[in-house]
């Protein structure tokens, strides 16, 4: 991110103006959360801080590619583990049992699923779920995520699907 002649965030922003449809991973020694949020808001798919292990980087790259691939596919049903979401009929089932979600909960889940594997910032999620004009605060999101976890996760304190990226946002785990 710390380049000699231009700020990395600016590079990212300009790159995203024409380079679409392919994932961008940011590798940086800057570990400030605001930096991460900014990069993600500028269109990065993931942010890996130095130092990192090669295996971790490879895993992240795989996730990003799979995710990019999925967006291309025109699926109506998403299946991850025990969780099955029928996007057409808006029915969520967990291990065969239907889970009742409120409209906002469903919208939140759908948004996370649509970008599964990618870190979504608080701001992005709030805008997507509550709408651009409604500027809710981060804790709305937290309370809804907590409620969603209670309905979907076996152990809400150890989520398997909706992972927290502290200080940045959430990510729907795909593997």
């Amino acid at each position: 991110m710390g380049l000699l002649d231009l700020d990395g965030q600016e590079v990212l922003r300009r790159l995203r103006e024409w380079y679409t449809g392919k994932p961008i991973l940011v590798l940086s020694a800057r570990d400030q959360e605001t930096e991460k949020v900014q990069a993600l808001d500028h269109g990065a798919d993931d942010y890996v801080t130095k130092p990192f292990g090669v295996s971790e980087l490879l895993a992240r790259m795989r996730t990003a590619l799979r995710h990019a691939h999925r967006i291309g596919a025109d699926a109506t049903t998403i299946t991850i583990g025990d969780l099955v979401v029928d996007l057409a009929s808006r029915v969520v089932t967990l291990a065969g049992r239907e889970v009742h979600l409120t409209p906002l909960e469903y919208k939140l889940l759908a948004t996370l699923l649509k970008h599964a594997g990618k870190v979504l910032t608080h701001r992005f999620l709030l805008r997507e779920v509550w709408g651009p004009q409604d500027s809710q605060e981060n804790h709305y999101l937290r309370v809804f995520v907590a409620s969603l976890r209670r309905k979907l996760e076996a152990d809400p304190a150890r989520p398997r699907y909706i992972l927290t990226e502290q200080g940045v946002g959430y990510r729907f785990a795909v593997d």
């Binding site: 959360e33 409120t102 605060e137 995520v145 304190a157 927290t164």
Partner: protein, 897 residues
């Protein structure tokens, strides 16, 4: 006079500029014995030479009456513009000290050091301007005639018959770094005078003519030569002393001057100064006045105050002693201070009085023993001190009327008693009258008492001595009665009045002493400069019955008002610049002094042993009170008490800071040694493993694998350690102010568990959080770090398969979070110490070492959230970490539906 008041902002700017100047400028005096010897000419000539040598020379002020030759010398030199001041319809040209300070040349020429400035200038005298210039680091050349030196003033007045009012204190002249004597023979000077080459002010033509006589000029020349010679002597002396500092000092001799209200005193003071200065090294000298209880009246006090100021200017230490007898008090004091020579003025008193009552001079001569007494005869009337309108204590007409009324009443009572045959004897009547006179004296003072005595005699004569109803007397014996009655009345009156005055003055002194004592006691019990200042300010205001403001220097050196911010002094525009000046020069200024006299108040510096801490400003309704020596001494005593208290306070702060500094230093050094050890250990392992890999090709696969694992592990450890150190230093520097938001505890714990899932793979972690826990207002990242640290510790210090339980519960206004395990627990007695930086309780389960920072960081984070963190061993075994975080009453509630 639109220009009379100095612009405070400008003044302030200059005062600050003066502060910035580091080195004091040097002063060179072109010294002559009379006008016309060519001082200005010589100065300008030297200046031109200096300019050709490349110095930055500016002419600050040269008298406008310069002769053509002098004018020619001025040509080509940079000349500062003068200030024009309208004074009583006349426009006066004055040297502009502000412009000079702004220009800041290397060398500034200012003619006529003894000049008195027009009202409205910064200072009363030009030499004070020059002092400011020198203080600002500007080198100054100036001119001066011998008769303007303060201590020579009266001698020259005697020689020439002309008294010069414009004088320069000796210390200014003595402090000149360089003296250039400009000398021509009196014949030459008179020749010049005849040709009209010497400027003479028109209005004093006659006096000046008598001044310029050959005999006068010769005497003046001699004086100036002697001054210059003395000066050379001093220079040689100081140079010699600088070389041989071990030379023995002459035994200290002290001179003492008796100061009284008489105009002779000024002469006595000057004589003493000359005697004191003539010795090598100069002797210290004292100016002493005896305050006979209740005896001195206001104009006399005023004169004594004037004399004291003169003595102070000439370098004396001034003392006022209370006492009953002038002779005894002075001699006692003189002996206590090792005085060897005593100076007193000859008193002009009628012969009869001298014969009957004796004089102080006679008594002194009689009792002085081994002290030399110098009796100085006085001039007829010194014109220097025009007696200021005294503040006579007003004795109202009412008092006189009342004294007469009381006598009339006494007469009535005596008449009634006689009528009733209760007190027939005339002696009783006389006693009654005398009693009334005594009462009048006590109540109304000496004057009314004298009137009452006279009235008593008349009433007695008229009503009680036959023939009644007339002033005629049958029996001549009554004449004696009247005379004795009058005399006794007067004596009683005088004694009673004096007694009363004594009581009054004792009471006043007592009040002041107790006030000073109280001030001292109060200051002794307080801490903090602003508290000290406001306490002292209140006390001083109460003591003098006026307004007080106190300015103190901050650590950075800026002057700020700390007491009396709303008072009238603070509101005055000249107050702050005056305070600045006072602090800068460590001298008294403001109302009642010669410096910045148009300020609202008297400003006294808070002089400490190392620096001036600030200034105290005092304003009283009657400004003339500020020159009273009594009040000044009291104020100075108070101010020096405050200065001492401030110093003590500062020392205490310094000591505390030094202690903190030492502690910080110790922590830093222990941190450094620990960090360097912890950083080097993994680095050594990495370096060792990688070099083995590089250099030995004959390694089997298993060994290679082990070495590679070592490198990876140690690198990870190093990374963790660095992160911890960074975070710790951020927390300690206060840079990591918590970014607090409303959080769900479950999410934070979950996130921490996710991050430590690998370390805790072999442990059984249970999370038991109530679902209705309110939102916490915390920094999610930091709190997550706390849990990560605790969980990592659990993984490190408990064996595999151990149970870890995380619980939370609302406890009043706090939320209590407990993280417990069933491992070995923390070593007994180290429950507090494990939170210290770089404290490691026991080896970890895998035999490795932690960073020793995790718990310190965790506790710092919890503390930053207003919470607490402790650890204890559970009864059933294992450690339990307890976190208590404050709950907010206004935690938001979010409806899911």
């Amino acid at each position: 006079m639109p220009d009379a008041r100095p612009n405070p902002d400008l003044l302030l700017a200059q005062v600050q500029a003066a502060e910035a100047g580091t080195k004091r400028g040097s002063l060179k005096v072109f010294f002559g014995y009379a006008a016309g010897v060519g001082k200005t000419y010589a100065m300008l000539e030297h200046a031109r030479r200096a300019r050709t040598e490349g110095r930055d020379v500016v002419v600050g002020y040269v008298e406008p009456h310069a002769r053509p030759e002098t004018e020619a010398l001025l040509h080509g030199l940079e000349i500062l513009s003068v200030r024009h001041i309208d004074y009583r319809g006349v426009t006066l040209r004055e040297f502009d000290v502000d412009a000079a300070l702004q220009r800041r040349p290397d060398l500034l020429l200012v003619d006529e050091l003894a000049h008195t400035n027009a009202p409205g200038c910064r200072h009363e005298k030009r030499w004070q301007d020059v002092e400011d210039l020198l203080a600002a680091g500007i080198n100054v050349w100036t001119t001066l005639n011998v008769q303007h030196i303060d201590s020579l003033n009266d001698v020259i007045g005697q020689i020439s018959g002309v008294i010069v009012r414009e004088t320069v204190p000796d210390h200014v002249f003595d402090s000149a770094d360089d003296l250039e004597l400009v000398d021509i023979t009196p014949e030459e000077l008179l020749e010049r005078l005849n040709v009209g080459k010497v400027y003479l002010p028109g209005q004093a033509q006659r006096a000046i003519e008598s001044f310029f006589q050959r005999s006068n000029l010769t005497a003046l020349r001699e004086l100036s030569l002697r001054q210059a010679a003395r000066r050379v002597h001093t220079d040689v002396e100081s140079a010699r002393r600088a070389k041989a500092a071990e030379e023995p000092w002459a035994t200290a001799e002290r001179l003492l001057v008796c100061v009284g209200p008489s105009p002779t005193t000024a002469r006595v003071i000057r004589t003493a100064k000359r005697m004191a200065a003539a010795a090598r090294p100069a002797r210290p000298w004292l100016a002493v006045s005896v305050d006979l209880t209740g005896a001195a009246n206001a104009p006399a006090q005023q004169q004594i105050a004037n004399h004291f100021r003169l003595a102070e200017r000439l370098g004396a230490e001034t003392v006022t002693l209370p006492g009953q007898s002038i002779t005894e008090t002075i001699l006692d004091y003189a002996r206590s201070r090792n005085v060897t020579k005593l100076f007193i003025g000859k008193t002009h008193q009628p012969r009869w009085r001298r014969l009957i009552l004796g004089t102080v001079v006679d008594e002194l001569l009689e009792q002085s023993g081994d002290i030399d007494v110098y009796v100085i005869h006085g001039a007829e009337e010194s014109r220097e001190f025009t007696s200021a309108p005294g503040r006579r204590r007003p004795v109202s007409r009412w008092s006189y009327f009342m004294s007469c009324a009381l006598i009339a009443l006494t007469g009535g009572v005596a008449y009634g008693l006689r009528f009733l045959h209760l007190a027939d004897a005339e002696a009783n009547t006389v006693m009654l009258f005398l009693a009334t006179v005594a009462w009048t004296a006590y109540r109304y003072g000496r004057g009314p008492a004298a009137l009452a005595s006279a009235a008593a005699v008349l009433v007695f004569d008229f009503f009680f001595v036959s023939p009644f109803g007339t002033f005629a007397v049958d029996d001549t014996q009554y004449i004696v009665t009247f005379a004795v009655m009058l005399a006794i009345g007067l004596v009683i009156g005088t004694l009673t009045a004096r007694l009363r005055a004594q009581i009054e003055s004792t009471r006043q002194r007592e009040r002041r002493t107790s006030a000073l004592y109280e001030l001292g006691k109060q200051l002794g019990s307080l801490y903090g400069s602003s508290f000290l200042a406001s306490a002292a300010g209140r006390k001083i205001a109460e003591m003098v019955g006026g307004d007080v403001a106190i300015y103190l220097r901050s650590q950075a050196g800026a002057l700020g008002i700390v007491c009396g911010q709303d008072g009238p002094i603070a509101g005055h525009p000249v107050s702050l610049p005056t305070a600045q000046w006072v602090v800068e020069h460590d001298q008294v200024a403001g109302a009642g002094t010669n410096t910045l006299p148009n300020a609202a108040a008297l400003f006294l510096p808070l002089t400490g042993t190392q620096r001036t801490h600030g200034a105290v400003a005092i304003r009283v309704a009657d400004a003339t009170r500020l020159v009273e020596p009594d009040l000044r001494q009291l104020l100075e005593a108070c101010v020096s008490q405050l200065a001492l208290a401030l110093e003590r306070d500062q020392l205490a702060i310094d000591a505390a800071e030094a202690r903190i500094q030492a502690e910080t230093e110790q922590v830093r050094s222990s941190l450094l040694s620990s960090v360097s050890h912890d950083l080097k250990t993994p680095l050594a392992a990495i370096a060792g493993a990688s070099s083995s890999l590089l250099e030995s090709s004959a390694l089997d696969d298993e060994t290679r694998q082990q070495l590679l694992e070592t490198v990876a592990e140690e690198a990870a450890r190093l990374n963790r350690l660095l992160e911890n150190i960074l975070q710790m230093s951020k927390l300690e520097a206060g840079a990591a102010a918590p970014n607090r938001q409303w959080h769900v505890l479950e999410e934070i714990v979950g996130s921490a568990l996710h991050r430590t899932r690998r370390e805790l793979a072999d442990h059984d972690v249970q999370v038991m959080l109530p679902t209705d826990l309110p939102l916490l207002f915390v920094d999610g990242l930091l709190l997550e770090q706390v849990f990560v640290n605790l969980l990592e510790n659990a993984a490190r210090y408990t064996p595999a398969k151990s149970h870890v339980v995380i619980r939370a519960a609302v406890d009043g206004r706090m939320v209590r979070i407990a993280l417990s395990d069933n491992g070995p627990g923390v070593p007994a007695g180290s429950e507090e110490r494990i939170f210290d930086k770089f404290y490691r309780a026991t080896p970890t389960v895998d035999g490795g070492r932690g960073s020793g920072l995790g718990l310190a960081i965790s506790r710092a984070i919890v503390k930053a959230h207003g919470g607490t963190m402790t650890v204890s061993n559970q009864p059933g075994g294992g450690a339990e970490f307890q976190l208590r975080l404050p709950l907010s009453q206004d935690a938001p509630r979010v409806a899911i539906q």
